[in-house]
Amino acid sequence: MILSDQLKRVRLTMIFALILLLAIFVISVATGYVSLSPAQLGRTILGNGTSKENLILFGFRLPRIMITILAGIGLAVSGAILQSITRNPLSDPGILGINAGAGLMIVVYVNFFTIESTNFLYVLPLFAFIGGLLTSAVIYMMAFKKGEGVEPTRLVLIGVGMAAAINGAILILSTRLEREQYDFFANWMAGRIWGDDWTFVLALLPWICLLLPVVFAKSHVLNVLNLHEHVTVGLGVNVERERRILIFIAVALSSASVSVSGGIAFIGLMAPHIARLLVGPRHQGFLPIAAMIGAILLLGADTIGRVLLDPSGIPAGIVVTIIGAPYFMYLMAKK
């Protein structure tokens, strides 16, 4: 009974979220340096646009929007996984320093290889992933104490510290960069969605498409892991193994997203919370909704940033932080 009730709610929320995403999508497509009227937009989508309209829509805006949506999904699901397995509502790949680790590998890469090479785009997510993985391994080990396991607040605290350290290292490395590379990197750090080419979409898409189904398939495991540890063991789940697999996936999702979207925090924090408020904590319903909300938030932030200041815009990462940090504070005050 309860189950079918939740299912109904999930479906309704999903439809509503889709409509909202579509609305933001239309606004985002239409606004920018050159705004397109709805008529122009419709014409271009149907294939009857002028070459200029075609270029703006298919060459610049659509790929960027696709990247934003994919990155939003990746970050939100990653945050949802981290929150469930650490049982800590304040977990987020940005706050935990995983994104900083990914950024460190990216700056290392930019330092030693040129950004023009064609393989660059496909290698970047991989490098980011290695960085994120190493960082999360270090954080996990530092937070682990024999007999106590991983205490959630300590985990967050150590993550905050790690993020500060890595940002210091990033700053040192980035001052060694050439002017052009530095500009690229500074924008990356601020969380400016910089990919505006279909190749970026292709670089990110496989990660999201391969990993999301795995996460959804593990919904029941996540449900159980979210309970108390001894309950979980009692239910016959190999806690440590499942937890490690899921951390691995969470890191992969956020690193790949971050590698094309730039350093964006707080999406992974907010989206799961809002989703949980809307449809409750069962992962079968809550994960897809969290993914949708992540996409809505990031696309919304990117659009706001672009509308506020033409043509360069305020990086989405900054907009997200200005919205997300007060939310974090609210959660702290409430909990």
């Binding site: 150590i158 350290a165 210091g168 290292a169 700053l171 360069s312 907009v319």
Partner: protein, 347 residues
Amino acid sequence: MMMMRNSQLKESKADSRPAIGTSILALGFILLMGSIVLAISVGAANIDFLTVWRSIFNYDSTREADQIIVSLRLPRELGAAVVGAAFAVSGAIMQGITRNPLADPGLLGLNAGASLALACVFAFHSSPSYLSLMFVSFIGAGIGAVMVFGLGSLRRGGMSPIRITLAGAAVSALLSALGEGMAIYYKLSQDLAFWIAGGVSGTNWLQLKLISPVIGVGILIAIMLSKELTILSFGEELAKGLGQRTLLTKGILMTVVLILAGTAVSLVGSIAFVGLMVPHVVRFLVGTDYRWIIPCSAICGSVLMVLADTAARMVNAPYETPMGAIVSMVGVPFFLYLARKGGRKVA
């Protein structure tokens, strides 16, 4: 809870080691002189120690080396020393008041608040006077502090160190994102970027003349109140029981913290971890008596900052590396150690 009480009892007798304290002060002073001379002599143009000595005490404006030293390098290194002392003392005071081993003006949002305030000034005023910058960054630091402590104490049960640290992280993220947004919106990023990352490269004598007395007075007040601070650090009830007016003491000390941190940030930008590390090391050496911790922190902070600035110029010569980055690379392992050690007791 029981553990807390035990450790409180254990701590409630000040562990004072005057002999070590005096030797740290003396040694620190010699080290400071040495590191300033070292810092002045290395750089784009290497100048040997003797010349440095001669030009400081026997200045001759016709010699080129003398000019480099007196107009560029000396104010810079003195600035680093003054600022280092300010950060270290404000960290020590904060740790004493909040009894939080992780307190540091950089981590608790003070520096971010000051940075945001400065970004606002730069946005609306093309060439602000240095005095107004100092004042504004003091206000900004105050806003940051109020937000963090307000947020930390909102919930019943009060301010645990971890809550304060998390609140600091969130407030810092928010304030620096706002600052960054302002910088981009008003196209200030070129002016602000390096400054926010932290450095003493532009320090001149005028700035030094303005900040030194302010910081000096701040540290002096801190030293005068250090006995009260020692009592306060044992716990508020104890301090009240001993007849201290805790609210007044806390208020004065917190104002001192804001003045010190705000002034320091207005000169070098946001630098974290100096205020965290130095008092800890000092406390380890001289014990829990703030009459020794504060002066020793001041001098050790100076040495640390001068060395950090030297490193910042050497690491990637001839380019300068942001000093804040160097300090946080050293400071973070320290933070992690404290977080791991303190995690259970303070949670």
